[in-house]
Amino acid sequence: MAFTATINGKKNSIDVDPETPLLWVLRDELKLTGTKFGCGAALCGACTVHLDGEAVRSCQIQARDVEGRDVTTIEGFTADASTTPVAKAVQAAWIKLDVAQCGYCQPGQIMSAVGLLTQIPKPTDDDIDKAMDGNVCRCATYHRIRAAIHEAAKAI
C-alpha cells in the first residue's frame, strides 16, 4: 500500500506494509540512516523525528499514520531546504562543546533539543530534565547536552 508524506521538505510516495514503523520506512526504504534504532519500544529516543514539527518516536509511528504529513529527520537539518536557525544553533553548540562520544543517540538528542528550543527558546534546567529524559545516552553525555542546549539558546 502506498502512502504519501513530505520527508525533509520533499514529497515521497512510499509503498510498504501499512503497519511498518516509520523508523524502518526512513532507514530501509528512504536510506535515511541518521535516525537510529535503539529499543523499538519508545523507551530510548534514538529514533526521534519530528512529525508536523513535534518530536515523536518513529519506532511507534506507523507508515499509515504519516499520510499527508510532514516528517523531518536529522538529514533535514543538513539540507538547506528544511533546516531551521534553531537546528543550526543546536548543531553548532554540539560541535563547539564536543558533546558526542559514540554519537549513536545524538541524532535523536538533537531532534529533541530542537523540539525543546523551538517551543521554549530559553529553557531552564527543569525544562531540560522534562524534555530530554526520553532520550537515553549510554555514554552519559547528558552533562554536555544540557550545556549545549543552554549554549544554543544563547545563539538563537
Partner: protein
C-alpha cells in the same frame, strides 16, 4: 618514552601486564586461540613497521611512509586509526598524536579505521589488534607520534630539495612548511616529492614544552559527522540486494532448538529464508521490519535440559554460603589471625552486586558479504584479530581473503570485545548456511541484547576488618565470590593464575591502604550465564566494597573519611594527590545546605587514579538524587584534557546509572528484563553536575575510558552513610529507601 616505560600495571581488559616480549606473547596468544595459520605470524621487527618505497607512493603523489598516515596532494592528512572508536575518542586521540608531531592543522586531519592486521596494527598491551582496558592511547603514544614525526621529516627534506636550502632552516607550523627566505608550501604541495625521500630511522620527537595540541586542545574529529547523521555505524550499512537477518535466540542460557515451526514467519512478506544456525533459528528478510516481525512469529520448542535454571536469588544464597570458607588466595600480608586477636573492634559487611548488561545504544550487529571465495565484514570490531580469525575459521578462508572493515560503534563498554567473537561468528554462520552471495546484515533487537547474556558477573563480597583502640585498621579480610570472566576463554592463561582470575579481584587485591595484615581471597563459581568485562571490569564491584567499607570503618572509629584515607596513603602519592585535589575542589569540610550530604571515594584502575566527592540529597520518596560530583583524575599526561573530562563525565554517568538502578535478574534461569523499561538506565534528570579536575603530570599517559566509572557509586554510598547512617551494601541503591538521620 619508550614501550618498556609504560606502566607495568596496565592490567587492562585482559588483566595482563604489558608484555616485555611482544613477539612471544603474540605467538602464545595465537596458539591458544587455535590460530589461523602461519599467515599472521610473519616476522615483526620494529614497533613502527614501514611500507616499502613502492607502497609509500602507491597512490599517486601521496606520502605514506608508514601504515599510520597518508599525506595527499589535496593537502589532507589521513590518520589510520588502529583501534575501534566506540565513543571513547580513540580516533581523536591518535589523530592528535600524529597532528602534533607533523605540525598539521586540525582542519586538514581526517581519520579512517585500519584494516585487520595484527602485525601492523597490534595493541602493544595485548600483542594483537584490539582495544580495551583503556589502553588505546597509552600503547600508541610513541608509535603515532613517531609516525607523524617521520612524515614531517620527509616533508622538510622535500622542501629542502625543492628550494635548495638547508633543512635546518625550515620550519613547520599549522600545516605549512616555510623557509626563512619566505618560501612556503603546503603539505599537499610537497607530498609527491616527500614520498621519494628516504624514510628516517629515528625521527626526532618534540620536546613536550613545544606541544601545540597534546595536553592542550584538539577538537574531536568525529563531532561533525555525529551531529548531522552521516557517521556510519554497522547498522547503517546498506548494499544492493542486502538481506537483514535476525535470530530467534534461546530463552535460557544453554537451551537448544528442539523443533520449530516457521510457517507463520515464512508467510510474512519480505521473509526470504528461515533456517537453523548454531545460535538458534535465523531469519533472512528483504527489510528489517519483516525480519523483526518474523523473529517474533517463529515458534520454537527449546530443549532446556542443558540450560542454566538457577535464579539470581539462588545464586546469591549459594555464593553467600561460600563466604565462611577461605577461597583461593589473591593477597596475603602479615598475620591476619593474630591481628584480629589484637583488634578492639571487628566490623563486618557483606555486599551483593547483580548481573549488569552493557546495553550500548547500538545493539550488536554485523554485516558480511561472502561469495564462497572471499568476504568483506563491516562491524564495530573491538578485537579485530579475534574477529578476523573467527571469520577465517568459520568461512574456511585465508586471512588475506577477508577484509574486516572496522566502523564507528554505537558504544561498547566491553560488549564488543568478546573472546568468542560471537557477533561476527553468527553472521558468518548465516552467510555460509545461506550459501548465496547476498550481503547480510545481522541485527540484534534490544530484547536480544538485554536478555543475551555476557553480563558483568554477579558477585558477593565479605569484608571483615579489625580496628585498634585508635580506630586504625589492623586487619582486613576481603572475600569475593563470583564467576570468572577469563576462565574458558583464550585469555585464561593470561588472566587466571593459581585459581585467581585477576579481573575478579583487581581493585581489591591491590588495596592501596597501609594495613599490615591483609588477606584477599576468591571463590570462583561456575554457571551457565555468560559473563564479560563491563566498563572498569573488576573495579565495578571491588571499588564499591572497599571504598564503602573504608567509610564504614572511619565512622566506627570516629574519623574524617578524607583524613582517614590520607593517613593510610603516605606511600601512595598518586592516590593521595587525586584525593586531595577532589576534596579541595569540592570544599570538603565546608558545611553543605541542609538536606545535602557529601561522600568521597578514591580508586585506581587501569593505571589511573580517580577520586570523587559526591553531593547527594533525597527525593520525597526516599530515592537518591546525586546533585554534584567533583572528580579528580591522575592519568599521567592528559593528551587531550577535554576528552579526559568527557570520559570522566560519561564514566560517572555510566557507573551511577548502574549503582542507582542497574540489575539484570534471573528467575528460574530466565532473564526478567527485556528492554529499557525493566533495565532502566541513567537519564538526563538523574545526571549530576560534574566537575573534572586533572592532576598535572608529566608521567606517561594512562587510561581514561574506564577509570571514571567505578568511583561514583561508593562516593554516593558514603554520602548516604554520612547523611542517613544507612550502609549501602546491596546494589542497586533503589532497592532501599533512605531517610535523613534526625
Amino acid at each position: 618514552m619508550t614501550y618498556s616505560d609504560l606502566p607495568s600495571k596496565l592490567t587492562g581488559i585482559f588483566a595482563m601486564p604489558v608484555p616485555k616480549a611482544p613477539d612471544a606473547s603474540r605467538r602464545s596468544f595465537l596458539k591458544i586461540t587455535g590460530g589461523v595459520g602461519a599467515g599472521l605470524v610473519l616476522g615483526l621487527a620494529a614497533p613502527l613497521p614501514r611500507l616499502g618505497a613502492t607502497a609509500a607512493q602507491a597512490a599517486s603523489g601521496t606520502l605514506a611512509p608508514n601504515p599510520f598516515l597518508r599525506v595527499a596532494p589535496d593537502n589532507t592528512v589521513t590518520v589510520i586509526i588502529k583501534h575501534l572508536d566506540k565513543g571513547q575518542g580513540a580516533a581523536t586521540g591518535l589523530a592528535t598524536l600524529v597532528a602534533e608531531e607533523l605540525d598539521a592543522d586540525h582542519a586538514q586531519i581526517k581519520t579512517e579505521f585500519a584494516p585487520a592486521d595484527p602485525i601492523k596494527y597490534k595493541n602493544f598491551a595485548f600483542g594483537v589488534q584490539g582495544v580495551g582496558g583503556s589502553t588505546g592511547l597509552a600503547n600508541s603514544y610513541e608509535q603515532y607520534r613517531t609516525a607523524g614525526a617521520t612524515a614531517r621529516a620527509m616533508l622538510i627534506a622535500a622542501a629542502a630539495r625543492t628550494w635548495n636550502v638547508k633543512a635546518d632552516d625550515i620550519t613547520v607550523k599549522a600545516g605549512v612548511v616555510s623557509h626563512s627566505s619566505g618560501k612556503s608550501a603546503t603539505f599537499g604541495e610537497l607530498a609527491n616529492t616527500a614520498a621519494g625521500e628516504s624514510v628516517p630511522d629515528k625521527p626526532t620527537l618534540k620536546d613536550p614544552k613545544d606541544f601545540v595540541f597534546i595536553g592542550k586542545s584538539f577538537p574531536r574529529v568525529d563531532s561533525p559527522a555525529k551531529v548531522n547523521g552521516t557517521a556510519l555505524y554497522t547498522i547503517d550499512h546498506q548494499f544492493d540486494g542486502m538481506l537483514i537477518a535476525t535470530i530467534a535466540r534461546p530463552p535460557m542460557f544453554g537451551a537448544k532448538v528442539k523443533s520449530f515451526d516457521a510457517s507463520e514467519a515464512e508467510s510474512i512478506k519480505g521473509v526470504v529464508k528461515v533456517m537453523p544456525v548454531p545460535q538458534g533459528i535465523a531469519i533472512l528478510a528483504t527489510n528489517t521490519w519483516a525480519a523483526i516481525k518474523a523473529q517474533r512469529a517463529i515458534k520454537v520448542e527449546w530443549e532446556k535440559s542443558g540450560a542454566e535454571t538457577r535464579g539470581s536469588a539462588d545464586l546469591v544464597a549459594e555464593y553467600k554460603a561460600l563466604l565462611d570458607t577461605p577461597g583461593a588466595k589473591a593477597r596475603e600480608d602479615g598475620n591476619l589471625d593474630d591481628a584480629f586477636k589484637t583488634a578492639v573492634k571487628v566490623v563486618e559487611a557483606d555486599f551483593e552486586f547483580p548481573y549488569l548488561a552493557h546495553a550500548p545504544m547500538e545493539p550488536m550487529d554485523c554485516v558480511v558479504r561472502y561469495d564462497g571465495a572471499s568476504a568483506d565484514i563491516w562491524t564495530g570490531s573491538q578485537l579485530q584479530t579475534l574477529d578476523h580469525a573467527t571469520a577465517c575459521k568459520v568461512l574456511g578462508l585465508k586471512p588475506e581473503a577477508i577484509n574486516l572493515h572496522t566502523v564507528w560503534a554505537g558504544g561498547s563498554f566491553g560488549r564488543r570485545a568478546i573472546a568468542d567473537s560471537h557477533y561476527v561468528r553468527e553472521a558468518c554462520d548465516i552467510a555460509k548456511a545461506y550459501g548465496k552471495p547476498a550481503p547480510i546484515k545481522v541485527i540484534w533487537t534490544r530484547e536480544d541484547d538485554i536478555k543475551g547474556g555476557w553480563y558483568r558477573p554477579l558477585y558477593v563480597h565479605r569484608i571483615k576488618a579489625g580496628l585498634d583502640k585508635d580506630g586504625n585498621i589492623v586487619a582486613w579480610l576481603h572475600r569475593i565470590v563470583g564467576q570468572s570472566i577469563g576462565a574458558g576463554t583464550p585469555f585464561e592463561a593470561m588472566m587466571v593464575k593459581d585459581g585467581v582470575d585477576s579481573s575478579s579481584v583487581e581493585g581489591a587485591s591491590n588495596l592501596p591502604y597501609a594495613i599490615a595484615n591483609i588477606r584477599v581471597d576468591l571463590h570462583t563459581t561456575k554457571g551457565g550465564v555468560p559473563v564479560l568485562w563491563w566498563r572498569s571490569v573488576g573495579s565495578t564491584h571491588t571499588a564499591h566494597a572497599t571504598e564503602h567499607m573504608i567509610d564504614i570503618l572511619a565512622k566506627e572509629g570516629g574519623k574524617d573519611p578524607v583524613a582517614f584515607r590520607l593517613a593510610m596513603l603516605k606511600d601512595k602519592p598518586r592516590h593521595a594527590g587525586a584525593l586531595k585535589l577532589a576534596a579541595e575542589k569540592a570544599g570538603w569540610g565546608k558545611p553543605l545546605e541542609p538536606g545535602k550530604f557529601r561522600g568521597v571515594a578514591v580508586h585506581e584502575s587501569f593505571a589511573s587514579f580517580v577520586a570523587n566527592v559526591a553531593e547527594v540529597s533525597l527525593r520525597d520518596d526516599g530515592s537518591v538524587k546525586v546533585e554534584r560530583v567533583v572528580c579528580a583524575i591522575d592519568c599521567g599526561l592528559a593528551v587531550n584534557p577535554d576528552v579526559v573530562a568527557a570520559q570522566m563525565e560519561g564514566g560517572i554517568g555510566y557507573g551511577l546509572g548502574a549503582g542507582l538502578k542497574g540489575a539484570i535478574t534471573l528467575a528460574g534461569g530466565e532473564v526478567e528484563q527485556a528492554n529499557f523499561d525493566g533495565y532502566d538506565v541513567l537519564r538526563m534528570s538523574e545526571m549530576p553536575h560534574v566537575e573534572v579536575h586533572i592532576v598535572p603530570s608529566a608521567a606517561p599517559p594512562t587510561g581514561v575510558g574506564e577509570p571514571g566509572t567505578p568511583v561514583v557509586t561508593p562516593a554516593v554510598a558514603n554520602a548516604l552513610l554520612s547523611g542517613t547512617g544507612v550502609r549501602t551494601t546491596v546494589l542497586p541503591m533503589n532497592k532501599q529507601k533512605y531517610k535523613t538521620q534526625s
